[in-house]
Amino acid sequence: MEVSLPEDGFLVTKLDEVANWCRKNSLWPMAFATACCGIEVMATGASRHDIARFGAEAFRFSPRQCDLMIVAGRVVMKMLPVLQRIWMQMPEPKWCISMGACASSGGVFDTYAVVQGIDRFLPVDVYIPGCPPRPEQLIQAVLDLQDKVQKTGTFNAREFKSRTRPEGPRPLAMQLDMADQMVAPANYRTATRSWSVVPEVGNHAGESGR
């Protein structure tokens, strides 16, 4: 198909729309691949599924070069501050896909260490169900995101400005009695964990029969 304009011709469109069109067709994903879902991300990029057909094959592992973060796999306590920090390092505009049951909700791992859905602590644009999702599903998610970018995007990223509150479900902290909690908060701003609030380390659980 050839589109040709007459000599010294011009095209009228909205600035927003050109920007969106450019952005959506050259998403640069950063695969934040932690666990099994990461292998499916690799499969999506490798032969047979080949995500290059949709203009999203330029996997970069440096957050500074990317505008799409694919969180593939479970995120645990030790990893979450790292994830938040990496998200902060990505330049605007940026989007986030939460891939797989674990990233979206904790999946089968309802345990002490696994964060029950990254959306509690991070804004997410597209969720993919499955454990692991098939490569086709990941490709579909990229297409959906392209749709979203085309429909809601603006040239100077105004649409993000209105999202001023955390969007996920409320943190689950109130599930437990205050007395039963052992709290050791971590901070994404420094990506370090605060040492001052550490409760007494050692045999907290040591007195048997609690």
Binding site: V76, Y112, V115, P123, R163, P171, A173, D180, Q181, A186
Partner: protein, 182 residues
């Protein structure tokens, strides 16, 4: 499994394992059959008390058990008929003959503590750190006993039976991020 009993404990039917264990008894100065043994399927276990554990392991290493396959522990809080709170196992193998035995020992609250096998098998390095991290058993003599899997400031020992499966709220305490500030 029984062949004969000396000093109350049933001997192993497997002669290769039995000769190693009787050698161990000799080295520790225990009368023949003085160490508690048990067998289940192809596992042969011998119980060694914590005070003698270091010399027992050293002897076994010299007796040719050169591969430490596994070192781990379990919390027996509330287990039927358990005498001690923590049970520790060392699975050893002789790589030239293929003989495998399991050495069992134990530890108790309030400060569970065992000698480290770091100098005997270097492979025990991370395994001991893991046991320390998840169960809170100290290994004296380990040069670098830090938490390995859990974050440093984590306060509990998750594999203990009195630690709940869903944790004590640690996984919920992070700062949520809004879209406009990131």
């Amino acid at each position: 499994m029984s062949e004969g009993t000396v000093a109350g404990h049933t001997l192993f039917s497997d002669p290769a394992v039995e000769s190693i264990v009787s050698g161990l008894e000799k080295a520790l100065g225990v009368p023949g059959g003085g160490l508690k043994r048990s067998s289940f399927r192809d596992n042969h276990r011998v119980w060694v008390e914590p005070a003698r554990l270091a010399s027992a392991l050293k002897h076994l290493r010299e007796a040719g058990m050169d591969l430490l396959i596994d070192l781990s522990a379990a919390d027996y809080l509330g287990y039927q008929d358990a005498e001690h709170r923590y049970g520790v196992w060392y699975i050893l193998e002789n790589t030239s003959t293929g003989t495998r035995i399991m050495v069992r020992s134990w530890a108790d609250d309030p400060s569970p503590c065992l000698p480290s096998a770091f100098d005997i098998w270097r492979g025990s390095d991370w395994m001991e750190r893991e046991v320390y991290d998840l169960l809170g058993i100290q290994f004296t003599g380990h040069p670098d006993l830090r938490r390995i899997l859990m974050p440093d400031e984590f306060a509990g020992h998750p594999l203990r039976k009195d630690y709940p499966l869903r944790g004590m709220g640690e996984r919920h305490h992070f700062v949520p991020l809004a879209r406009d500030e990131s």
